[in-house]
Every structure is written in structure tokens, then in C-alpha cells.
Amino acid sequence: MESKITNYSVPTEYQSELGKMNILGFWIFIAAEIILFATLFALYGVYHNRTAEGPTGPEVFVIRDVMIQTILLLTSSFTCGYVITSLRKGNVKSANIWIGITLLFGLGFLVMEINEFIHYAHAGLTIQTSAFGSSLLTLLGTHGAHVTFGVVWAILLAIQLVQRGITPITASKVHIWSIYWHFLDVVWIFIFTFVYLGGLM
């Protein structure tokens, strides 16, 4: 009875009791994620000047690449909005195309981030160099790991959409993934603002 429809007047993802409760439950999880990233921001805020003998932020940050990363992730968040739009129009094919486009931007972001880490390592900044390096790379790495997880998750959901079509259950799963994906952009906005721009001031 898990996909029993209780209300037809709302979008598909809210129609089943399970789907509705899962979406609420995911928002509770997002709150835990907010606290997780808050602790990492706090760590960076406390340690960002502790560079030991290693490079400082302004010495290693490449603002052009950071802007590209920001735009890639912002764009993927934007295209992710159309996944939900397609879902609510009942169009599986268009939902999957938008998932694909979103993932391309997401993967572009990851490629840029991996290049960034390689650049840091070459510039002499690793997770072992200084408290600055540890806190910076833990914050960026945790975010990057989340993006990687989001990519894998979306691929599995796209397969399920093809197999099962848009039902109250699959729609709520995709909706939950979209919440997660937008949340990663929210975290990135704060990384961009307070780590990179803040570091360059």
C-alpha cells in the first residue's frame, strides 16, 4: 500500500503518504547537513590563518577557476529545476534529459575541483601541510564527495524513471534528490563567498 494515493490535488511527489513523509524526512536530514557543514566552516574560520610554513590562501587560490566552478554548479542547480518541472508535466523523457544535462555540469564541476586539488598539491598545499590546508581541503572535499554521491544517485534514479515511469514514489525520490542537489549549491555559495572571496580580501 506504500504508493496509495491520498490526494490528487498536489504534485505527484506529494500524492502518496510515503512520498510526502520521505520529503519531510529529507528536510530533517538537510538540517543535519547544515550543521555538518557549519562545523567545517567553523573549523576553517578558526584555522584559516594557521598556514605554518605552507602557502596561504591568496597564494594558491585561482579566482578564474573558482568562478568557472561556481558558474558550473549554479547552472547545474538551474537545470535541476527543470527536472522537477518535467516531472510535474509527466514527461519522463524530458526529466531524464534534464538530469543528464544537470549531471554534465556537475561532472564539469568535479573535474575543475580535482584540477584545483592537483594545483594545490603542486603548490605545496596538501591536507598535511598546515591547519589551513587541513580545514580547507576537508571543507572542499566533503562538499566534493557530496557532489560525487549526488551524481551516482541521479544516475540510479534516471534508470528507475525509465523502468517504472513517474509514480508518486519515483517522483518523490527525484524530488528528494533535487533538494539535495540544490543544497550543495547553497553550500558552495558560502564556500565561494567566505573561503575564496573572503580569502582574497
Binding site: 519531510l24 567553523a42 578558526v46 584559516h48 522537477i84 518541472t85 540544490h182 572571496l197
Partner: protein
């Protein structure tokens, strides 16, 4: 709530354009303008908060569904706790003995 209002992509485009403008404006302010550092911090912080709000309400559909009050209150509480964690940590670790 009906399906039609939320199926429109116009809100998406507005959110995206505002996001891009705020991103470039923040970068320009920090890198090219000659404002005082404290002023730059204030403005880019406001820009970040606006962008986060856009994501939460326009993209993440936080304020929809029967559970919207629960979602909004719980998320705002988490944001408050996050702010306490960040600024509380920095304060307690720097007050009286400046680091760096």
C-alpha cells in the same frame, strides 16, 4: 496548490539570473572595487544570504506541501544553530588571544 503554477520555468530563470548577477557582483566588489574591507564583507555576506534564500524557496520548494511550516521552521532553526556553531567557535577561539 495546483500543478500548473509550480510547473512553470519562469521562477527558475529569474533565480538563475539573480544568482549569476550576485556571483559576479560579489567577485567584482572583492577584486576590483576600492571599498573598505568591512564594507565588502557586509555586502558579500548579504549577497550570499540572498542567493541561499533564492535556492531554498525558488528551487528547493521548501514552502510547499502540507508540511511546509515544519520544513521552514526546522530549516531556519538549523541555520540558526549553524550560525551559532560558526561564529561561536570563531569567537571562543579568538577572544582575548588573536590567532594568525
Amino acid at each position: 496548490m495546483n500543478n500548473k503554477t509550480h510547473a512553470s520555468g519562469v521562477g527558475n530563470i529569474i533565480g538563475y539570473v539573480i544568482g549569476l548577477i550576485l556571483t559576479f557582483a560579489a567577485a567584482w566588489l572583492v577584486l576590483k572595487s576600492s571599498l573598505a574591507t568591512s564594507m565588502k564583507w557586509t555586502i558579500i555576506s548579504i549577497f550570499a544570504i540572498i542567493q541561499a534564500g533564492l535556492q531554498l524557496f525558488m528551487f528547493m520548494h521548501m514552502s510547499e506541501g502540507e508540511d511546509r511550516d515544519t520544513k521552514v521552521v526546522h530549516t531556519i532553526y538549523a541555520i540558526f544553530m549553524g550560525i551559532v556553531v560558526v561564529f561561536g567557535s570563531i569567537w571562543v577561539m579568538t577572544a582575548g588571544h588573536p590567532i594568525g
